[in-house]
């Protein structure tokens, strides 16, 4: 079975600084997708960024980028120029190709200090 591990339950960062959230996963599949979701106190799950396993290039969305290390099964999220609105729970998630099911990590609480 696929598993997703987020080993850091909490992190904090100063506003305008950069922070990296770690995620590792375990799978024997070759076709899969990885996601980072953000859940602010409003509870709304928001997709931050996604990565297709077959793509070597790391995904980037504005201030958010990933470091996808396929051999190491690592998928970290880098947030640059952190903003107060980035404070939230962040969940790493995995989806096998051809399946719609998401497997989530335990999440990590990010605090942004002014």
């Amino acid at each position: 079975a696929q598993t997703v591990t987020q080993s850091q339950p909490e992190m904090s960062v100063q506003e305008a600084e950069t922070v990296t959230l770690s995620c590792t996963y375990d799978t024997s599949e070759s076709d899969y997708y990885l996601f980072w979701y953000k859940q602010p106190p409003s509870r709304q799950m928001i997709l931050v960024i996604r990565q297709e396993a077959y793509k070597q290039q790391n995904a980037t969305e504005n201030r958010f980028s990933v470091n996808f290390q396929k051999a190491a099964k690592s998928f970290s999220l880098k947030i640059s120029d952190s903003q107060l609105g980035d404070a939230a729970m962040y969940f790493c998630a995995y989806r096998k190709g051809g399946s719609e099911k998401l497997v989530f990590g335990k999440g990590m609480k990010l605090t942004v200090n002014p």
Binding site: S42, R43, M45, E100, F104
Partner: protein, 118 residues
């Protein structure tokens, strides 16, 4: 993308009663998913609801406890039956919209229903 609404947004219920949560999507979707998020925890998939067929439940979840309806391509309900305080959670529905040309398959989430069982 997809806009998803859930009703109720929150409720406080008595032990032994049942609550039905509604999930409405602004577009037709093949699959709808129901998740449970216990306090301070991650999301756990309860079941997958396909229109016109029985829902598929994940290990640890049964139809008698969490009956699901999927009458059409834009609507689903999840009932939490015979509730106990351990059922206090946030319940979220999510969908994967159809995309022309395939690919994508982003999963979008509703705002969640916060359930407290006394």
């Amino acid at each position: 993308s997809a806009v998803i609404s859930q009703k109720p947004s929150r409720d406080i219920c008595q032990r032994g009663t049942s609550l039905t949560i509604q999930c409405q999507v602004d577009s037709q979707v093949t699959m709808m998913f129901w998740y449970r998020q216990q306090p301070g925890q991650s999301l756990t998939l309860i079941a997958t609801a396909n229109q016109g067929s029985e829902a598929t439940y994940e290990s640890g979840f049964v139809i008698d406890k969490f009956p699901i309806s999927r009458p059409n391509l834009t609507f689903s309900t999840l009932t939490v039956s015979n509730m106990s305080p351990e059922d206090s959670s946030i319940y979220l529905c999510s969908v994967t919209p159809r995309l022309a040309g395939g690919g994508g398959n982003e999963q979008f989430f509703g705002p969640g229903t916060r359930l407290t069982v006394l």
